[in-house]
Symmetry: C2
Subunit: 359 residues, 2 copies
């Protein structure tokens, strides 16, 4: 009881398999009478063309891929908030942007997030099934990427230009953090700033720290060599890192600049638990612009990335390169915006959404 194939349809419709194929690929090259007969038989038999066979024979799939790391905060998954749309994070927004853009270009999107187990399998899984794909930084070992990108268009999102012949997309991490830190120093008059960094293998987090350093230097403050503390980007890490920081001797900082929003949220929690008020005692700022940041109290001041646009740009680059495989590698830097809310000491912003914005 295997699924019907071109052969079954061909036989039943009294034509060759080539004709069946044509009916689906170039309907116009088949006499309409023949075509109708084939189509009729096809539905009668429940024939569905095999995408795999098609891809194999034609060397193209009409599918674009996206690989991203398993960013999910475990604690977020487990509690009752699992159904809260506000939890949506970085990768989801990029997915969304890519899906939209892919659709416009007539492509479907294959999404794969790495999970415990070989990352090898992750890329292989995707790479073998798409015409090209995007990778979020730190998802795939550079070496694997190096190999695969020799065979397939790959665009690297939000990482360093690890491989120089890849198309590459990034946001203005350093400049964005520079501007944010400068805001804290100049507009709020803060001087003792602490930086809650990410892991050293994250180029984005490092770039943000560099921006922070530059701001300190520009303001004539001491320039730290290293972040005051680090975490692995989750809320839990942010809490832990903040606790560690507070336990150190000396007074708490006047401001905490966090490498991403999730850790900033964790910092908010840790500070609250220590009885410190934000922003009166300590200002807190994040980076990313996740939706949850605007819902918490105090609402989170942050540097907002154009996440959706990243996804769209990735698809655009992919499609471009598919059309022109030998074009020289292209790199784009997308701008970020400053989102000033309560946690830095700025006044609570006016309602951010209202009917006026809807139409």
């Amino acid at each position: 009881m295997g699924a019907p194939t071109v052969y079954d349809v061909a036989k039943r419709a009294q034509v060759s398999i080539a004709t069946v194929s044509r009916v689906y690929r170039n309907p116009d090259t088949v006499r309409s009478q023949t075509r109708d007969r084939v189509l009729a038989v096809a539905r009668e038999l429940g024939y569905v063309p095999s995408g795999n066979a098609r891809g194999l024979a034609s060397r193209s799939t009409g599918v674009l891929g996206l690989c991203f790391p398993d960013y999910a905060d475990p604690e977020v998954e487990d509690d009752g908030a699992a159904d809260d749309p506000e939890q949506m994070l970085y990768a989801d927004e990029i997915t969304r942007g890519m899906e939209r853009a892919a659709r416009r270009h007539g492509y479907a999107l294959l999404i794969a997030a790495s999970l415990a187990g070989g990352p090898e399998s992750l890329v292989a899984k995707v790479a073998g099934r798409v015409d090209g794909f995007a990778v979020l930084a730190r998802t795939v070992p550079t070496e694997d990427l190096e190999i695969i990108s020799r065979r397939l268009p790959v665009v690297m999102i939000a990482g360093p230009r690890e491989i120089d012949h890849l198309d590459h997309l990034e946001v203005a991490n350093a400049d964005g953090e520079y501007e944010m830190a400068t805001h804290l120093i100049r507009d709020h008059g803060l001087r003792r700033l602490a930086f809650l960094g990410g892991t050293t293998d994250s180029p984005d987090a490092e770039a943000r720290f560099h921006g922070f350093q530059r701001a300190c230097a520009a303001a004539g403050l001491a320039v730290p060599d290293e972040p005051d503390t680090r975490g692995n980007f989750t809320q839990a890490d942010g809490r832990a890192a903040t606790d560690r920081l507070l336990q150190r001797v000396g007074q708490p900082p006047e401001a905490m600049v966090c490498a991403n929003d999730q850790m900033a949220l964790g910092a908010l929690q840790a500070l609250e638990r220590q009885g410190l008020r934000v922003p009166q005692d300590v200002a807190v700022v994040g980076f990313d612009g996740i939706p949850l940041g605007r819902m918490v109290r105090p609402s989170l001041t942050t540097v907002t990335q154009p996440m959706r646009k990243l996804g769209e740009a990735a698809v655009d680059l992919l499609v471009e390169r598919l059309g022109e495989p030998n074009r020289s590698p292209r790199s784009m830097l997308l701008p970020v915006t400053q989102t000033r809310r309560e946690s830095c000491g700025c006044p609570s912003p006016a309602p951010e959404a209202g009917l006026s914005r809807l139409g």
Copy 2:
């Protein structure tokens, strides 16, 4: 300059293609010495297994699919809010739930939204590349589904049980709307309610209307045969339908019960433009629970669907059936919740998110 294949690797590593294949599928069945040699050659050559060939030969892909209609409100896409996460709609939440669940089960997710052009191609595209897939109601012609589902596990989300041998998922539309309408009537003392319906081909919208009718009946009010006006689910439709309603002779209704949130948002705009205050002059309620509903002013009272759970349940059903192909079709009804905000006349709720909820 074709991509290297098993043959190239086999020749260079002095083994047969079968061995190369084994190295990737069952590494343990190959002597480690041989394996290392093959792997070395593979990376040297830049070999990446073809997912298509694999799928063809093994009849399984490790990919699950999702088809949904192109719900996007055009006006939402076009304006500057394109990067606003609050715009996220129904299908996106389901996507998210499916992606998460698929990942847990070791599957990747293929997403395809219909676009102008043959829906035929949409299903074919997905169906031929996945081990099973989910379809949002009204995305794919029933006839096509009927055919495809004979060959592949399909779960239908949020539609009627159009095809009785399909696994099927829906939410408590009628009960949810019944409860909402009853709230308006009993708790707010409203009596002249108008229903802004969807298109007649949407079973969800119709079910909601039935729930509305039941509430009217239960309260001893006149029971309408038909929605007072209808729209095609977008904000623009909601505005237009509301304008039409208001232009009709007679006084405006005391409440507008809308078949979905987007139209309710449109209704809010139309009422505002007519100088009517919500909820003082007219109460407005929606259905779905899209994020934007909580950001608008007045915030939207609505019946919230467990969208993410729908996605997860879809994957679970798919995986179950993949494991047990002949299991009898299963149908699940997911509960909805009442979300009372300002637009029905309830007091503005306490801040919905705070640190307390985060850990």
